[in-house]
């Protein structure tokens, strides 16, 4: 450590300098007046360090106590309510995933039980088979067969242009075009999210930069699996007039919209969204 030597003028009223030790890396020559050793300074300094420590201690204590007790952050910046919402959203998404898994598991158990009932109560076989057919039609069971897989993704362009990203309305238009052309079952998966079957009460909505499908948050790239006649479906996807909005943006903004040629067969998950009907009754 390099120590600087400085000359400090004598201060009237202070005791002459004695061999000194450094204070804050300043060393004082013998014989020089050291203001830091003066009675006045000592009074003030010692008094103040005690005061400073008291203030610091009080500050730390208050700060730690505040941090400890502050379970729900107070609105001190606009970020705080946002962070609370973020946390809540994450919790609810986890709950939603669990609920959907539990519903799928319970449905599997009901199917296994129905198979047993068919054996035990053979008279019920017709009713169970009829219910199974209806469930398959409603998309409550898995579907497998010939089909296509479509990829819809944001453009790679670094520019943040609204038209360069995949929107919920693109998915809605695409699904309508697929139903129009003989699709038998459709599902959509976003990046890292569960596969969502397009089912009886499915809605596809956009909230800022995410797309909600069956209430589940998804983000591009989207994989759309479609069960049905491949040639007819491919022809429908290549129809630039019917899907004008998508193709215009593919050409101008680099939106990605392709069919995965490697996929000839698709395995589509069952619908796990809501099918509770509280208000509607058979007339």
């Amino acid at each position: 450590m390099v120590r600087r030597r400085i000359r400090v003028p004598e201060i009237p009223g202070s005791s002459p300098g004695t061999p000194t030790r450094s204070f804050l890396n300043i060393k004082y020559n013998r014989g020089m007046a050291n203001p830091f050793r003066s009675e006045k300074f000592r009074k003030i300094f010692i008094g103040n360090i005690a005061l400073a420590l008291a203030v610091i201690g009080l500050g730390v204590g208050t700060f730690l106590a505040w941090q400890y007790n502050d379970k729900l952050p107070q609105v001190i910046t606009p970020a705080v309510p946002y962070l609370s919402l973020q946390e809540m959203e994450s919790t609810l998404e986890g709950e939603q995933r669990t609920l959907k898994q539990q519903i799928a598991k319970t449905d599997d158990q009901i199917n296994a039980l129905a198979d047993k009932v068919k054996i035990r109560q053979s008279g019920m076989k017709g009713l169970i088979d009829a219910a199974d057919r209806l469930k398959a039609q409603a998309g409550i069971t898995q579907a497998k067969g010939s089909g296509i897989k479509i990829i819809l993704a944001d453009s790679d362009s670094p520019l943040n242009v609204t038209n360069a990203i995949a929107h919920a309305s693109d998915l809605r238009d695409l699904i309508n075009q697929l139903w129009q052309n003989g699709a038998e079952a459709i599902s959509i998966s976003g990046a890292g999210s569960m596969e969502e079957r397009v089912g009886p009460l499915t809605s596809i909505d956009c909230i800022v930069n995410t797309v909600l499908i069956n209430g589940t948050k998804t983000v591009p790239p989207f994989e759309i699996k479609v069960l049905g006649d491949r040639d007819r479906l491919i022809s429908a996807i290549n129809d630039r007039t019917a899907l004008k909005s998508i193709y215009d943006r593919v050409d101008k903004e680099g939106l990605k919209f392709t069919i995965d040629d490697n996929v000839k067969e698709v395995d589509i998950a069952s619908f796990t969204g809501n099918i509770i009907t509280e208000h509607v009754k058979i007339k």
Binding site: Q86, Q102, A131, T202, I282, K283
Partner: protein
């Protein structure tokens, strides 16, 4: 070194330690908060997240009800193992539910009736039906044709006017359709009215 000097030295070090401890805690805290603030892309983000959270609450409540209904169904089926009549009742009830969803029967319930006195293009009809589903419509029809999962909307193109009926919570449906910036404002400019009883036809085969 006098005792007083030693004490002062220790106190000085303690003071510096505490000072840096506080500064460290505060800097870390600020860093964490501002890192997270960085993820807010626009002033609308917190509002939109609030909408998403509220939607999640709504959806999860329905999923919970559905799970309870499925568990009850499973339990009833299990308990009816030796009772053919009870099994039949449970299976019929299950079948009815799917018949409603698939439009295989005429249905009734409260809801909204929406009248639009001009033509709509396919994308407008798609958005309108989507908005109704998002607001909890359980069954609907357009110009007396049932709208199901796989109903293409192209068939309604070029029609001079529309009568759209949707069964569900009539207040929720009405409010979501007619709120400022709602679907009626945005695309259709039509008239909505609450109805206590709406009848929808069964789907054509």
């Amino acid at each position: 070194m006098s005792k007083l000097n030693r004490l002062m030295l220790i106190l000085r070090r303690v003071a510096w330690l505490l000072l840096f401890l506080i500064v460290g805690i505060m800097l870390t805290n600020q860093y964490i908060i501002y890192t997270k603030i960085g993820s807010i892309r626009s002033a609308q983000d917190p509002q939109m997240m609030a909408v998403r959270v509220s939607q999640l609450y709504f959806d999860n409540a329905k999923l919970k009800a559905q799970l309870v209904e499925r568990i009850n169904h499973e339990t009833s089926l299990e308990n009816s193992a030796t009772n053919n009549l009870e099994t039949q009742r449970i299976l019929e009830k299950e079948r009815e539910k799917y018949k409603i969803i698939l439009g295989q029967t005429e249905v009734v319930g409260p809801g909204v009736l929406l009248s639009v006195n001009h033509t709509l293009v396919t994308t407008q009809i798609i958005d309108l039906v989507n908005a109704l589903r998002n607001s909890g419509a359980e069954a609907m029809s357009i110009n007396e044709k049932r709208v199901l999962t796989n109903t293409p909307m192209n068939q309604f193109n070029e029609q001079p006017n529309f009568v759209i009926k949707a069964i569900g919570d009539k207040d929720v449906l009405y409010d979501s359709l007619t709120r400022p910036g709602g679907i009626l404002d945005l695309i259709t400019n039509g008239q909505a009215e609450r109805q206590d009883e709406i009848v929808l036809p069964k789907a054509a085969l």
